[in-house]
């Protein structure tokens, strides 16, 4: 998933919860999804992505 997509999805989740539209049973699920998205984004910001490194090291 791309960073921008993750942020977009996060926005949606937060708005849903803020809007009070979500029932309590679904909040747990959303919270879990949001945590995963936040982790994904933070990893992209702060952790080295070996795959990107490898791609950029190759010349063509």
């Amino acid at each position: 998933m791309k960073y921008e997509e993750a942020i977009k999805r996060l926005e949606e989740i937060v708005s849903e919860i803020e809007g009070g539209k979500l029932n309590m049973d679904k909040i747990g699920e959303s919270l879990k999804e949001a945590r995963e998205l936040i982790k994904l984004c933070k990893d992209k910001l702060y952790e080295t992505d070996e795959e990107i490194k490898k791609i950029l090291e190759t010349d063509d």
């Binding site: 960073y3 921008e4 942020i7 996060l10 926005e11 989740i13 937060v14 919860i17 803020e18 009070g20 979500l22 309590m24 909040i27 919270l31 949001a34 936040i38 984004c41 933070k42 992209k44 910001l45 702060y46 952790e47 080295t48 992505d49 990107i52 490194k53 791609i55 950029l56 090291e57 063509d60």
Partner: protein
């Protein structure tokens, strides 16, 4: 034989020389274009000057011009400081010259002074012409319309590996205080001299061939004594930058007017370090967005949980009073039922009582004692009540019950 007056070539050239000196002793400010420049080992500088027609293809005039060492030592740094450029081929210059003629070397000019504002004006005019053309071709704003991705981490750098600027850029990125990760790949190109246009375009092409691997392109160059920026005032280079599919950021290190490349780039900064800072600030903004969302998420969930807790507590508090109300209601209902039952029973009993009384009265009325008292009597024979005379025969003994006692008698007939 006719005697013709002859002179030697040296005498002829000498006459030309003295005529020129006599007729044109003054210094002239002359506009020309440099078509050749070669510094000599002795510290002089030899220029080739031309004037072209409007098509730029035909020479209208040509002359050699010499800048002697003493002049060149002052004039070169002065010109470079003013324009940010060194004198080079293709440049329009305004020079103060005197005309000389040497018997061996012929006609030439001696340069005494230069007016850098003329060159700057010409460069500005050329920049404007290029920009006008780019605008006319509809490409001037294309790169600026692109959006820098939220996370510009994969950076294609176009620079020369040896340039200090490239090192500055990489260091600045790598040492960002937030700990953001960046991926930098260098695409080598000449950053000064005649090869800039060709090699930068070639580097852009190389990036474009694998554009999915990158988020942004950065063109940077380190300082140097003279900026030599006019090579970035190139239509072809600018056209390539403007049309480039990724945002291009220029940090080509200058203080004066923007080059054409800067104008068409998505973002222009002054130095490679500033280019790195720009990228870091973009990622910082993005990180802030993420932090904000995470905070909002936390607040929203906490808020929702609190609200639900309050709701639940309110419900729990309501329970006893709800039960109390229910209890009272049930009790009333029970009482009603009870009362109704009791009344029902009571009514029923009253009715029954009445009937009993009636029965009692009729029973009382049927009491044999009362009947006896009224003068009736009860006759028994052998223990049986006698109802019919025909049941009796002479000799039977009768017992007659009267109100005040019994009488024994015998039937005689």
């Amino acid at each position: 034989m006719r005697i013709v007056e002859t002179i030697t070539l040296q005498e002829l050239n000498g006459r030309v020389k003295s005529t020129l000196q006599f007729e044109m002793p003054d210094a002239y400010w002359v506009q020309a274009e440099i078509s050749g420049i070669s510094p000599s080992g002795q510290g002089h500088c030899y220029l080739e000057l031309v004037q072209k027609d409007t098509t730029g293809r035909t020479f209208l005039a040509k002359a050699k011009a010499n800048v002697w060492r003493n002049t060149w030592l002052k004039l070169k740094p002065y010109f470079e400081a003013e324009t940010g450029e060194s004198l080079k081929v293709g440049m329009k210059v305004l020079l103060q010259v005197t005309v000389t003629f040497h018997e061996v070397y012929g006609y030439s000019l001696v340069v005494w002074d230069i007016d850098p504002t003329y060159t700057m004006g010409d460069m500005a005019r050329r920049r404007k012409e290029i920009l006008d053309q780019l605008a006319k071709d509809g490409v001037i704003g294309l790169n600026r319309e692109l959006e820098i991705p939220m996370l510009p981490q994969r950076i294609a750098v176009i620079s020369s590996a040896t340039a200090a600027g490239y090192g500055d850029f990489c260091n600045q990125l790598a040492s960002n205080v937030y700990g953001f990760r960046f991926y930098v790949k260098l695409f080598q190109a000449a950053m000064q001299g005649d090869d800039v246009e060709r090699s930068v375009i070639a580097a852009l092409d190389a990036v474009a061939a694998r554009m999915d691997d990158f988020d942004v392109v950065i063109i940077i160059r380190g300082g140097g004594a003279v900026s030599e920026l006019s090579c970035f005032d190139s239509y072809n280079l600018a056209y390539n930058i403007a049309n480039f599919p990724l945002p291009v950021i220029t940090g080509i290190g200058h203080e004066r007017d923007d080059t054409v490349a800067d104008v068409v780039a998505h973002t222009k900064v002054k130095t490679p370090t500033a280019a790195a800072e720009f990228i870091i600030s973009k990622v910082f903004d993005t990180a802030q967005v993420l932090e904000g969302l995470a905070r909002r998420m936390g607040d929203a969930v906490t808020g929702r949980m609190n609200a639900e807790t309050v709701r639940l507590e309110r419900l729990a508090q309501k329970m006893p009073s709800l039960f109390a109300v229910l209890k009272v209601r049930n009790e009333q209902m029970l009482e009603n039922i009870w009362n109704r039952s009791v009344n029902g029973v009571r009514n029923l009993l009253t009715v029954k009582n009445h009937r009993l009384e009636l029965l009692e009265k009729s029973i009382a009325a049927a009491d044999p004692v009362l009947i006896l008292k009224r003068g009736f009597s009860l006759t028994r024979c052998n223990g049986h009540v006698v109802n019919r005379a025909s049941d009796l025969k002479p000799g039977d003994r009768l017992t007659t019950v009267l109100a005040d006692g019994t009488v024994e008698s015998e039937i005689v007939g």
